[in-house]
Every structure is written in C-alpha cells, then in structure tokens.
C-alpha cells in the first residue's frame, strides 16, 4: 500500500523526464533550424536594407540630367511616344526606363515634345519641374537588388555566409558604382543581368547536379538580356564556354573528340540561340513600337523601313528584318564615328583602360556653384572611386595571377582545388574583358571598368577565402577582426567621398581634402 504512491510518483517523474528531454530536444532542434534560417536570410536582408538605403538616399536628385542621361531620357521618351529612333546601344535599357516612367514617373503635366525631336536633351529643353525618379528607377532598383546576386555568388562558392556578407559591402559602398548607377544610365541595368548570369552559372555548378542543355539555355537567356542593354555584356558568353568545360571535363581529360564535338553541336545552339532570341525579341519590340518618324530624324533609315513605318506596318516580320539591319548598321557607323582618346585635350573625359585600375580619370558629371558669404560652395556629381574598394580589387587580381602562376608555372599544389578553379574563372573573366577593351580604338571612360570591377570584387572574396582558408575554418578571431576593420574602412571612405556622389555642398578646401591623387584629375569648380 505504502509503495504505491512512490511508484506512481516515480513513473510520473520518469515520464516527465523522458518527455521533457524530447521537448527539450525538439526545442533545441527548432532553435537550431530557426538560427540557421535566420542566418541564411538575415544577411541578405541586411544587405538589401543597406543597398536600398544607399541607392535611395536623395533619390531623384539632382533635379537635372547629367552625363548620358541627356541621351537616354530622350530615347526612353521616344518609346513612350511611339517614335522611331536608333542609338549606339541596344534598346532594352531605354525600354525599361520608359516603362518605369509610365509607371512611376510624375511628369504628366510636363511638356516633353522636345524629347522626340532630339537625341541629346539640353538643359533648356527640359522643364525645371521635370521629375527624374521614373527614368532613374530601373537602374537604381536593379542595382540595389544586384547585391543579392553578389552575396549569393560568394556564399555558394565559399559556403561562408559571413565572408559573403563582408565582401558584399564592397559593391554597395563604392562611390563610382553608386554615382553612375543611381541615374538613368544603362550600366546598373546591365550589371543586374550580368550578376544574375554569374549567380545562375555558380548555382548550376555548385548544385552537384548534371549539366543539361536547358541550363545552357537559361544562361543564354540571361546573356541575351545583358547584351540587349549594352553590347559589352557579350563578355559573359565566356560563361557558356566555362560551363562547357566543366560539363565535358571528363571527355576533355580523356580526350574524346567525338563526344566533345557531339556535345558542342548541341550546347552551342542551346546557349547561343536563346541569347540571340532575346536580343532579336527586344529589337522586334523596339522596331514595332516605333510607329512615328519625326521630321529630319530618320537616322539614315532605309527608304523601305521608313515606308513601312508610314504604312503602319511596324510589327511585321519584313519590317523587322529591314529595321534590324538599319539599327545594326547605325550602331556600327556610330561606333566608328566616336573620336579616339586624346589625353592632350584639356577637357578630355576619357581615359586609357589600364589607368582605370587605380581610378584614373574621374569625370565631373555635373556641378552647381553658389557664392555664399563670399565663399564658393559647389555641389559636385563626380565619378570618383572608393580607393579602398578599387585598390583592393586590383590587389586581389595580382594575388590571383600569382596563385595561378604558382600552379601552372612553378607546379605548386593548390590547397583547395574547387576554390582555385573559381579564382581562375573570375580572373580569366577580368583579364578577358580588359584585353577586349584594349582592342577598342574609340574613347572609353572609367565607368567601362565597372564590369571588370565586379569580377575583381568577386575574385577578391575568393582569394581572401583561399588565403585564409584555415583561419576561416578555425573561426580565427584575429582574421574576423581584420576583416571587420577592412569593411569599416570601406564604409568610412565611402562616407568621406559621398558628397561627390550625392552632390552635397562643398567648399574649395573640403573638395581639396578629397583630391587624394593627382592622377584622378579631380577638378575644383
């Protein structure tokens, strides 16, 4: 009798103990998965918030056009008004600007008739009431979102979310990237598609699944979008070649030319055809939408094309064929007509491709001076680099070249083979772009370096992960502190140069404090 309650209590205790343990285990398991979920998603969220904060600060300012906006806004408006035009760049970027202007623009009360009768808008052509948020929207938003692709690329390759988070700050806090892409320019839109391609490429190769023809097609589609914004996006056709190399690595190693040729015959059309299809589709829409010809603005279009437009036959395939040929001829003739670099010209804005590496030369996009109490105060919109970002990117390339040479010239064994080949891939993209650019005879500008800069920044994260592989695996505190200081430096230097990025007022002394290197050729008002 007396043992019964004790027995009962013991059973209850054991029952609770057993279940509490399972509840505890369940809770612990959930906590771990919640933590892992947060870790996986909180970093991209932090980056997205930072990126939007940087790109949307003073969004819409200056309330005036600068640099190529004078061209692109005029072209985008022609899409809205259904006016035929031709341009040196493919039309997708301007189409997106037009779409955003229709959706978000606040210019319904503005007379924009002048936009259709010129390719280059002067200040007098535009009402002071004009709002630029619509036209700038695609570049700003897509560039702000691009950081997610950047993060994803590094995270998937290194499998280190914190490393990806740290190095993603470089693409957010670069003054040159921010000033150039928070405008109605094409480069932000193009970089979005290019980073999407690279992310897609990295995802395909890190998923562990076999590479199928539809993967070539997917990559081709994204390349198609990038080259439909700017032709320089064609550099990423190299990704298709790299995909093929990985796909056929066994056949290459065992030298099976028949298998290689068979795969090549299938994979080349699988990758190139979607790219071509997207490119042609963009032009089809562009040509179809151009239903009006403005007086004296025929862009040397052929009589057949002009006749088809006047007949209202712009969506037919025959018009498309003629229109495409005319557009491509115009692009080619325009490129031939662009002057060469002339560094002796006092107002030359262009620069030599190899000089871009260190930020030469800056371009003063716009400046508005005011004299307040006898002191000249100027608002500059200037493309000037964040030197910590650009110099580090270049150092990363030097390290990579050294590493590659150590393997292929000196026969050193790499310590992390997959990471080594990723470094090879991004260094190759960088070198290939620079070599291609060096073949171009026309004048080029520092912002043409934004694409290889992105390659170099991804490479920097990878070479860092390679060099500090053991420290990362050991969670070495000294390494993390160093990396934290590096990121803090990037942000601090961005903030220091931000008056030139956002057009904040500076007096001459404040401007001179930012004139760090004579070779940047920053010019005071």
């Amino acid at each position: 009798m007396s043992k019964k309650p004790q027995h009962f209590l013991a059973s209850v205790y054991q029952y609770l103990l057993k279940n509490l343990a399972s509840v505890y285990q369940h809770l612990l398991k959930n906590l771990v998965s919640v933590y892992q979920y947060l870790l996986k998603n909180i970093y991209p969220l932090i980056l997205l918030v930072c990126s939007f904060a940087i790109y949307f600060t003073y969004y819409g300012s200056p309330k005036a056009m600068f640099w190529d906006e004078n061209y692109h806004i005029a072209s985008a408006q022609k899409h809205i008004d259904g006016v035929m035009y031709m341009e040196p760049h493919p039309p997708l970027g301007k189409m997106l600007m037009a779409l955003a202007e229709v959706a978000f623009g606040d210019n319904k009360h503005i007379d924009k008739q002048k936009f259709d009768s010129t390719d280059y808008l002067k200040g007098d052509d535009v009402s002071p009431e004009m709002n630029y948020t619509g036209f700038r929207w695609p570049s700003v938003v897509l560039m702000a979102i691009s950081v997610l692709f950047f993060y994803g690329i590094i995270r998937r390759i290194t499998k280190q979310p914190l490393i990806a988070l740290a190095f993603s700050s470089l693409i957010i806090f670069d003054n040159a990237l921010v000033v150039h892409t928070r405008a109605a320019h094409l480069d932000g839109i193009q970089l979005f598609f290019m980073l999407a391609e690279i992310y897609c490429f990295v995802r395909l190769l890190t998923s562990g699944k076999p590479i199928l023809l539809r993967h070539y097609a997917l990559l081709g589609v994204l390349i198609g979008f990038a080259i439909s914004v700017k032709a320089t996006g064609a550099i990423e056709f190299l990704l298709l070649a790299m995909l093929f190399l990985v796909d056929q690595w066994q056949n290459i190693k065992h030298f099976d030319p028949l298998a290689l040729a068979k795969r090549l015959l299938l994979s080349v059309p699988a990758g190139v055809a979607p790219a071509a299809l997207i490119f042609l589709s963009v032009f089809y829409i562009h040509i179809g939408m151009g239903t009006k010809v403005m007086p004296d603005r025929t862009y040397k279009a052929s009589p057949q094309y002009l006749e088809a437009i006047r007949a209202g036959n712009t969506w037919s395939l025959s018009t498309f064929t003629i229109g495409l040929a005319d557009n491509l001829r115009y692009m080619s003739e325009y490129a031939d007509g662009v002057p060469r670099l002339d560094e002796c010209k006092p107002d030359e804005n262009g620069s030599f491709a190899l000089d871009w590496i260190l930020g030469k030369k800056s371009i003063n996009y716009r400046r508005d001076s005011n004299t307040i109490d006898g002191q000249v105060i100027t608002r500059y919109i200037t493309i000037v680099v964040n030197p910590v970002v650009w110099f580090s990117a270049f150092v990363g390339i030097l390290f990579s070249l050294g590493l590659i040479m150590s393997k292929f010239v000196y026969g050193q064994q790499e310590k992390d083979t997959p990471l080594f080949y990723w470094i090879c891939a991004f260094t190759s993209l960088y070198v290939a772009y620079m070599l291609a650019i060096l073949q171009i005879e026309r004048v080029m500008y520092i912002y043409h370096y934004l694409i290889p800069l992105v390659f170099a920044l991804i490479n920097l994260a990878l070479i860092f992960s390679y060099v500090y592989r053991e420290e990362i695996l050991q969670n070495n505190r000294h390494m993390w502190i160093n990396l934290g200081i590096f990121v803090a430096l990037v942000i601090a230097v961005f903030a220091f140069f931000s008056p030139l990025t956002y057009g904040l007022p500076l007096n001459e002394e404040q401007f001179e404090l930012r004139n760090w290197f004579a070779f940047w050729k920053l010019q005071v008002a």
Binding site: G374, Q375, M479, F486, L489, L513
Partner: protein, 186 residues
C-alpha cells in the same frame, strides 16, 4: 619566434594599419605655421593691371608660412595645394617684420603676372602688367626694428605663381619670405 609572429593575420593587420594611417594623413587638413595672412580676391572682370579698379566677386583668406607659391606653374603652395581661383584674381599680403641688422637689403619678387611691393607704406617696385614668371630685385636700406611690407599680386589667365625672397647685400645667403634669418624675422 619571428615566423610565429609574422603570420598572415599580423601582416593583414599591419597593412590595415598602414592604410588607416595613410587615410588619416589624407583626410587631415594640411597645416603650416601662421606667418602671413593672405587675402585672395576673385575679380568679376578680367585683370590686366595691378592697379586697376577691383570688382570683387568672392574673397578668401589663407594662412601661409612662406611666400613660395609657384609649384607646377600654378598659384600653388607645396603643402596647401592650389590656392587661387584659376584666373583673374588679386592677392594681398600685409605683414610686419623685424630687421635685426642695419644694411642694404634686396627683396626678390618673382611673379606671373603683375605685382606691387611696398615697405612701410613706400612703394619699392612693381610690374603692373601680365608676364611669365620673372623675378625683380627690389633694393632698400633698412634700419633695425619693426617694419611692415605690403605685396599685391594679380593673376590674369594662363600660368600663375608668386615667390618672394630676401637677402642682405653683405651676405651670399638668400632666404624665402617667412624664413627667419640673422638679418630679418617675421
């Protein structure tokens, strides 16, 4: 021991420290001893003569240590950088100085473009119009004690620059204005 100390993390820390040092050096405004208070005035119209009437649009004052503003053929201080307005500006420097040894002194004034130089209110020499950087010798006999000078300068267009030095005729040494010697202190 040394190998253990100089690991990758330490090297990265040293590099970061060097970068921080370089950045601090770049963002710290340059400082020179306050010897001459120089007034620089941007003229609204073009300047062709040092004595023409002034129509000032903007003025700024800058402390400099020496009158040696000829770097890179511009009105530029070796430490402070460009100081002028580019084109069409006047510069005025008025400052006391102490003569320690009585004697004949030569003030060498190099200017691109014109200048006017006076001591104790008396004009000693000038070049009224524009010219490339050329040096004039301005002679004066000075007694020991407190004196003052006024140097006015203008830049029209093109290259610019202003430099002033002095010497006692009994000595072979020449000193920049602002540089103390056994003859003169500023």
């Amino acid at each position: 021991m040394i190998n253990n100390f100089f690991n990758k993390n330490v090297i990265f820390s040293i590099v970061l420290l060097a970068v921080v040092g370089a950045i601090v050096n770049k963002v710290t405004p340059p400082y020179v001893p306050h010897v001459f208070n120089m007034t620089i005035s941007k003229n609204k119209t073009s300047i062709a003569d040092i004595y023409q009437s002034r129509d000032i649009a903007a003025t700024k004052t800058v402390w400099i240590d020496r009158i040696d503003l000829t770097e890179k053929n511009r009105f530029r201080h070796p430490k402070l950088g460009d100081l002028g307005f580019g084109t069409d500006f006047f510069v005025d420097i008025e400052a006391p100085f102490t003569v320690k040894v009585e004697g004949s002194y030569v003030f060498y004034i190099g200017s691109d473009d014109g200048f006017s130089f006076s001591v104790d209110g008396k004009k000693i020499c000038d070049w009224t119009r524009d010219r490339p950087l050329t040096t004039d010798s301005c002679h004066i006999r000075l007694k020991p004690g407190e004196h003052s000078f006024k140097l006015s300068y203008f830049q029209g267009f093109g290259n610019s620059g202003l430099i002033m030095s002095y010497a006692n005729t009994s000595s072979d040494s020449q000193y920049l204005a602002g540089q103390d010697s056994k003859f003169i202190s500023f």
